[in-house]
Amino acid sequence: MSTCVNLSQAQTDHGDFIERVRKMSDQDVRKCYQCGKCSAGCPVHNCNGMDVSPNRIMRMVQLGMEEEVLKTKTIWVCVVCSTCTARCPRDIDIGRVMDGLRIMAYKKNYLQYAKNATDFHQTFFNNIATFGRAYEMAFAIGLTLKTGYMFGILDLAPATLLKGNLPFFPSKLKNSRQIKEIVENIKRMEGEK
């Protein structure tokens, strides 16, 4: 992330960003007065998992730093534990703001800034859209091919298989197309707009 930002330019180009975030997440980030409580209690931030702290994300939204915000790792590693939301004195649901920012980044196809995350979501979503329910064996293999996920936990594989914790076959479902149909319906609805 660049450390030098032209704020008046950001306001001219992305002055409506905060409004679009409000529409997307139903949360008014204008209310944030930067107390920092969200960051103080954020478990991911406290374990050094984020590149930008949650309160800074809020400030960046206020300043119209759209590109910078949507390219952070933070928006993708937020687990929406809602600890920040529970404690925010301005009653902002920060978890929902993060969800909204993720959706905005995804729509812009900004997938390379937190590649493990976008690979995970896409692999998982394709999996449930195909099978109706998570078919974990296929998911684990698919994710490993993209991110190497399983290589880090190979030592647990024998026990996992022995315990029967990773079934070989997908769960049986009469209508496995249900999720696909919802996706198609939503696409149609978006086209009608």
Partner: protein, 286 residues
Amino acid sequence: MKYAYYPGCSLHATQKAYDMSVKAVCKTLGIELWEIPDWVCCGASSAHSLGHLLGLAIPAKTLVSAEKEGLDVVAPCAACWQRLVWVNHEVTTNPDMRDKINKAIGAELKGTSKVLSIMEAVNSAGIDKISQAVKKPLKGLKVASYYGCYYVKPPKIAHVDDPESPHLIDDMMVALGAEAIDWPYKTECCGASLGFIDFDTTLMMSKKVLDFAVKSGAELIVTACPLCQMNLDMYQSKINKKFGTKYNIPVCYFTQLMAYTMGYSANELGMGKNYTAYESAFSKIG
């Protein structure tokens, strides 16, 4: 008492032991579970990250048949449970979103079925009934009840119990004869599904939870969420390897421990599917 049962994907696959123990506890307490036919995945945690309506419509689909039966729903996975609660919240408070959801699922959802967490459902049998069903009391076993985040936050939506200091599981543990230890990380996040994205950060998050439980004197941790169980149980050996720690604390579902005290065998509850060794803690029960 009869509930519509939404097991969710993990209870049918990697976390079968949870399913077995939920059914055992409900059977003993006279709670009837009617599994929703043809239920689909709730979409967590990907659908709501990829689209707002998508994240609501997918779990909404499953609620339709429960509503038709006129039954309240029980979902033992914290992530599923919260997704379903969000659907009801939107459907009952936001007519515009309700119409969109209904259009997306091609059905009419009104939000009339309540969505209960498994701790509320079990607790609804009454503490007296729970303690009366105990055949092998816990004899003061020191149990850390771990709620995780999704059941209690954000409190306006997910309010099974107090967001910072819940006690519902603790109360039930006391009814089983345990000593419910007081500890600070009851509702801290274990990392949830972040393990698939950033494994190191997740291990660090789970380590803190284990650390506080152990330092507070717990002999056993009980959970109510497949993600919490996976992170604290399955990855405990990875945490030890990464941080040079020697945690050796059993982690199981509160329903496993409860059903065990009610007379089920470890085998019937899938205890062998857990990764941490439970035997020494369980040997004190009886």
